[in-house]
């Protein structure tokens, strides 16, 4: 009889003991969780992309509940999620400014000269450690498509050795911005159409020698802009997106077409995305 009873008593006893201990522990070590956090987590897209700067949606939900993050922190969710979050928190929604990534270089294989032929691994980070990349311009896109690899939203294509962003697919998740070794991808407000697509800080003469579409520091845009949106430093024109009124004077006047109207989608580009 004890052959059967002993194991039952021991095992049952141990199970009971641990059960009681755990239930005591759960009362003893109870940590209060803000119910809002759960609700906020449900409202966020759950992509865990990290574009907001927090580790995943749970991190942002915590920050939102504690009031450390603005309601429009989620760039993927846009205005809809911002409104929902504001509703849960009981505050007014901050207006959401949609941004898109823009590659600030147009020096494709027809327009920019190469200084050597690159045959290594197809990774921009590796190529750019090799004498600053294959292009003579050390500021421009090296064209290996690391941003294309990292994009989860099918928004980047490599066209003629240069990365191009599809504005409709881009969610401003910031991944391409972070991976680009040349730091030539920036987030630009969706409503702004005129963008200086060059990052070269070389003098104009030098830029002219290796790229037909670089900023040559002529300052024509600075002189012609009706709202003084352009500033000029380090041989490079810089546009203030808050002041720009999309008049497109700069795009027309720029002698090298370094300033581009990003709202115009070329047929070539559309075709590339269709395929």
């Amino acid at each position: 009889m004890s052959d059967i009873l002993n194991p039952i008593i021991v095992l049952g006893g141990l199970g009971l003991l641990f059960g009681v201990l755990l239930s005591i522990a759960s009362k003893l070590f109870a940590v209060k969780v803000d119910p809002k956090v759960e609700e906020l987590l449900g409202a966020l897209p759950g992509a865990n992309c990290g574009a907001c700067g927090y580790p995943g949606c749970a991190g942002l939900a915590n920050a939102l509940a504690e009031g450390r993050a603005p309601t429009n922190s989620c760039s993927i969710g846009g205005q809809k999620v911002a409104n929902h979050v504001a509703e849960i928190l009981g505050v007014n929604a901050a207006s959401f400014e949609k941004k898109v990534a823009v590659v600030l270089c147009q020096g494709d294989c027809d327009k920019a000269k190469n200084k050597y032929e690159y045959q290594g691994l197809q990774d921009c980070r590796i190529q750019s450690t090799l004498a600053g990349g294959k292009k003579e311009c050390t500021y421009g896109c090296v064209g290996c498509g690391s941003c294309f690899d990292v994009c989860e939203f099918n928004a980047i294509r490599m066209i003629n050795d240069i990365a191009v962003v599809n504005r409709e697919n881009c969610t401003a998740c910031n991944k391409c911005v972070e991976i680009c070794p040349k730091k030539i991808i920036e987030l630009v407000p969706y409503t702004n159409n005129a963008v200086v697509k060059c990052k070269s800080q070389d003098p104009g003469k030098l830029v002219r020698s290796y790229c037909s579409t670089g900023c040559i520091a002529c300052q024509i845009c600075v002189k012609n802009c009706p709202t003084d949106a352009f500033s000029f430093e380090n041989n490079l024109a810089r546009i203030n997106y808050d002041k720009c009124i999309n008049c497109m004077v700069c795009v027309e006047k720029c002698p090298t077409n370094a300033i581009d109207n990003v709202s115009i989608v070329s047929d070539d580009f559309a075709q590339k995305f269709a395929s």
Binding site: V10, L11, L14, F18, L21, L22, F29, V31, L121
Partner: protein
């Protein structure tokens, strides 16, 4: 066996991952980034040491007393599972920083074979309490070492030019196999 020999044996010669092939699941599952690898390693070290000590006490004071050695596996699983739950609860309250570092990995190791394996092997070898503690801690450190080694390799392999058919787990398994052979070079040291 002296304590020093035990330490060397558990970390290198009889490494639980490379020589005894225990704990392979987390070894492959969470070794793709150094950060997660160290978090998991930390959690396993913590739990294995605690679980071994407690299972040792239970084996000596309960199972041996009633002659119920055949219940070892089931009782140890019970102990480990509740211990992990307890540690998680306690950690959440007492050290939120440590909890956020290894909290997510804790539930993963409730019934991990390395935790159970170390506990059972310690009893089989007839270790005393001190030997058990040292053995468990170093076994987990050996696991930690294996995890960190393979994680650093995998981070490098991320950007390496690997034949398409081998990308991901296949190349990881090959690397792990080679590493296991390398570790067999320690055989006969103790």
């Amino acid at each position: 066996m002296g304590l020093f020999a035990l330490i060397i044996s558990n970390i290198f010669v009889n490494n639980y991952v490379f020589a005894r092939f225990l704990g392979i699941c987390p070894f492959l599952g969470v070794s793709n980034k150094m950060e997660t690898a160290t978090g998991m390693g930390l959690a396993v070290t913590f739990v294995t040491t605690f679980a071994s000590v407690i299972t040792y006490i239970i084996q000596k004071s309960v199972l041996d007393l009633f002659g119920l050695g055949y219940l070892q596996t089931i009782v140890f699983i019970l102990v480990i599972a509740s211990l992990v739950q307890f540690v998680e609860l306690a950690l959440k309250k007492m050290s939120p920083t440590l909890y956020s570092a290894m909290g997510v990995y804790l539930p993963l190791i409730t019934t991990n074979c390395i935790v159970l394996g170390v506990a059972i092997l310690n009893i089989q070898e007839g270790y005393n309490l001190i030997q058990t503690t040292v053995s468990a801690a170093t076994a987990a450190l050996g696991f930690f070492l294996a995890l960190v080694l393979v994680a650093s390799l995998r981070e490098k392999m991320e950007i390496a030019d690997i034949p398409e058919a081998l990308v991901g787990f296949p190349i990881t398994l090959i690397a792990a196999g080679l590493m296991s052979i390398a570790f067999s070079g320690f055989a006969g040291l103790v």
